[in-house]
Symmetry: C3
């Protein structure tokens, strides 16, 4: 019960973070409240929906538990009515996206392992679920997806996912392994935002 | 039987309307006939496919009934061979999209209620199914998705969806509730196109 | 067994070809190695995943057989460390995409027929599976999807798909029908690239 609650708190944090990032994107585009709802829901439940459909995990997580949708809509309403400095929006969007990224990479990897997909597929589908929500948001908004920025992005999701697989393999208590995996990915992404870190890119050689 | 027929007519209307909107987008991009087919099918069956996959409603609606695909392909052929004024295309696309939007929001909401998803999820998935087809069309074509225009868009889908949920709750005959829900959403979207209505957007405040 | 092996070889070729096209797109965007992985996997398994989910074919093909993901990741690593001339990249991407397109259109059509979807739906879903992977790659990268170029594209997938349906209908040995279908589609696409062929597009008439 306690463990389920802890998991649930992480899920709600990820949902809210990605919903806020979607609502901020809607704000930048000058959309109305229903546009906020759509743009908040897409990243908040899009990646997890893809994961559940691929794993044939039915019903999809938000169908029978209205709290996921409710949290996302509430986040959209809060952003809609909140005061903000125009310049600060993009910055907040990026940090909310970073939180959602680390949380969803970890949580999706956990669900894959529970479905006994094997570690390789768990990491791959965990990362894919985490990056898909944000990509949908950015593609709808006609923005360059964050994954294409020169900052470390997919790498952070990989760090969360691999950390969880490793700690889980060694039988670490799930609350600890979940927390460490989220923190590891968030730290990598956060440091890359703050210090403008990049991994070496393949460079043209002639 | 009569009711099924009425439903089927609405489904075919929505399929044709969205297929025409896709074919018109293909015409604008100067694509060949097979490009027309792909661009017509994506909005015509894309949103409903997502809905069925999420609801685990198998087989997906167009797999066992070839009429959906046939209507969409026929619509593409008609647009391909039809005469049109270059300037009129975008206008017709927007109106066909409006028709598909109201029809699919209503019909998808009805299917969700039949699957007993609860009203909140039915509205959310109904709206998502209705807006997804058009977004796929616009994203493939590298156009600004209509949902991002300042006109009322997602709102119209919400109006159709909520109207149907309300009338269905009060046990209104389904032909009447379907018709009223479609008309309500189409009216809201149509008036917003004609009079350039917008809902208040979240404005930057400093 | 031999037949399964032959099928498997075609599948691996298609997976590698599309993975290489995705990795080349990642190279053009200057992404790091994890970005290469994501961009290689999306076209390599994206279209087939959509096909399996729509057909309710579970588990999705790459979940229980890690070789698909492994081949795609290996292709990404090879591209990442390979030498290339900057100008040659786009050309190689287009040819790898052509190979993946013909292979996946044929293979997806075969799977649809095996699921007894009927010929119309098999062709439609075969073509859709083949073009979806490349579209995801191009949309993420903010490039004009190849399907929108004036060259013959969706047409080549249709040629592969229809050729396979026809040969299969006449009971031709599957290794022969698979090979001919792949070659036919690849030839059409290849010739259109080399000779800049286009089908007549719908032209504005006033």
């Amino acid at each position: 019960m306690t463990q389920i609650s802890f998991l649930f708190v992480l899920e709600m944090l990820g949902t809210a973070a990605f919903a806020i990032s979607g609502a901020l994107a809607a704000a930048r585009k000058g959309m109305d409240i229903f546009g906020f709802f759509v743009l908040a829901l897409m990243p908040a439940v899009g990646g997890g929906t893809m994961r559940d459909v691929i794993l044939d995990r039915h019903p999809v997580f938000w169908i029978d538990d209205v709290r996921y949708v409710a949290v996302a809509l509430a986040a959209a309403v809060v952003v809609y009515f909140s005061f903000y400095r125009p310049g600060g929006r993009q910055r907040v969007l990026i940090w909310m996206d970073a939180m959602g990224l680390a949380l969803f990479a970890t949580l999706a990897t956990r669900i894959c392992l529970e479905f006994e997909t094997g570690a390789t597929v768990a990491v791959m589908l965990g990362v894919a679920s985490a990056v898909t929500g944000g990509m949908i948001r950015d593609i709808i908004c006609n923005e360059i997806p964050l994954i294409l920025t020169r900052e470390i992005y997919a790498t952070a999701a990989f760090v969360s996912s691999v950390t969880f697989v490793a700690l889980d393999y060694f039988g670490i208590d799930s609350r600890i392994s979940l927390s460490l995996a989220v923190l590891a990915g968030f730290a990598v992404r956060g440091l890359s935002i703050v210090f403008d870190w990049t991994l070496p890119a393949a460079k043209p050689r002639s």
